[in-house]
Symmetry: C2
Subunit: 257 residues, 2 copies
DNA sequence: CGCGCAGTTGAGAACACTCAAATACTGTGG
DNA sequence: CCACAGTATTTGAGTGTTCTCAACTGCGCG
């Protein structure tokens, strides 16, 4: 215990100033002098174990959240009890501000694995934002970014066939890996087939079949949840049928931040 | 010319303080004393004729926009030149802040009929927001609202069959009519079948066929673009298969604000 | 070692799509 | 005011992607 942050990804960071993800996160909006102020709005919790909820649909909105390590899915449950997976969040990605509007969360957030989260008091963040115009602007940009991602996802889901959606999903994950300096061609899916299918609006059997086909065509290798992308170029050609915008921070081509 | 605002819906308003849509719009965020400040960030233009663009995909982002009268669609065009209709906007509804993130618009906005628009300088609005915390909060809420709408739309598009999507679309329009004190059961579609189909992610023939079926079942009457909803209760039963959130301001059940 | 969950594979059915043609509207000019 | 061109909408027939149901395999954990 008490290892340095870089040695133990689950260690609680002392401060935003020392966070390795700072270049992708709130500190980006602040000058060096302002960085200390961020720590006044951010809280830390011990890691969440797999399947644990960070917040629940309908619960009061107090905070936004940033994934520090691990991954998270957000889920909406309707009156019939049917689940809809709304998105997946990887380290440095922020979620929870869907709750601002109604002052309560419209979905639940659930850890997909052992996951560390920074909690950002929204009330305090808002107050700080009135004093730091660059922070205010950064927040508007983040929310606008989320809008862009959702619009792109809408396009994706309503215009593309099952195969294109799956390829887009994998390439999105790949790009988000890259943004964090991880391999864009080798990674582990932290969600199961059912979550992927639900997120992409198709049957889980379809996901399975299409992944098998892509593997047969040697475009990728997938064993369980381990993915190795063999032919990024060809896959990109499938995908680039649609995309030309929203690459501002080299994140989230489709899917969620 | 120079008629009072209520007599001529296309007359340029003198100020937000006198706008009939104030209870649904920015003035809602301001105290009486602050109302005057709003006028410093808002500009007016002569009405846009049908099919005219309010802004174009890729153009620099300067303003957000509110529909004062008429209606607007937003459209994304991909590399192949295929269009995707992203949303429809009715009076009091705000659009354009998808452009904040990249500082340029990621879609085009096009008037569907003769339409009056209020232009809100975003730079000025941001500056004003640092001085009026309630305005800042209102903006966060509006953007969060847009997120809610898009997430709901995502759910709708990926979980529901064609018939349910069309019913949801009509009921959404109906609810938005209500919010402006117009009849929820009789209204005119300002977009063509192709736009509806594109927005809902289906073929226009499917829209046509399903509307014919709903008419045959006496749930509604539709002649061209004139809609009369006969059996709101039954239609709602179809739709309420899914919804229980996002009714905060009694607007946009699906579709866009 | 076996139970349970996750994932794969197969067969048949259904919904929505495409192509094609007919009909109804809209706006314009004579 | 009517005729006409062009567009919008409806309707039909056949096809295809994806879904559902069902059985089977593999993996992890107690």
């Amino acid at each position: 215990m008490d290892m340095t942050e870089s040695a133990n990804p689950f260690a609680l960071p002392r401060s935003c100033s020392h966070c390795r993800l700072g270049h992708l996160c709130l500190p980006r909006a602040c000058s060096f002098q302002e960085l200390g102020l961020l720590d006044t709005v951010i809280g830390y919790q011990p890691p969440y174990p797999p399947k644990q909820r960070i917040f629940s649909q309908g619960s009061p909105f107090h905070s936004c959240y940033v994934v520090k390590s691990g991954s998270v899915k957000t889920v909406y449950v309707n009156e019939q009890g049917e689940e809809k997976v709304l998105g997946f969040y990887l380290p440095s990605e922020m979620f929870g501000f869907e709750g601002i509007f109604q002052d309560s969360h419209t979905c639940s957030a659930i850890a997909l694995e052992r996951t560390t989260i920074c909690h950002i008091s929204f009330r305090n963040l808002e107050q700080l934002a009135t004093q730091l115009p660059s922070l205010q602007h950064w927040m508007f940009r983040m929310m606008s970014h989320e809008l862009n991602i959702l619009e792109q996802l809408n396009r994706w889901l309503s215009q593309n066939c099952a195969e294109e959606r799956i390829i887009g999903f994998l390439l999105d994950l790949s790009a988000r890996q890259s943004a964090r300096n991880l391999s864009p061609t080798r990674f582990r899916l932290t969600m199961n087939r059912s979550d992927i299918a639900n997120f992409l609006g198709m049957a889980l059997e379809t996901v399975s079949r299409i992944l098998a086909r892509l593997q047969r065509d040697r475009l990728l290798d997938i064993r369980g949840r381990e993915v190795i992308i063999n032919d990024l170029a060809t896959l990109n050609r499938f995908k680039s049928m649609d995309d030309n915008a929203n690459d501002g921070l080299n994140r989230h081509l489709i899917g969620r931040g």
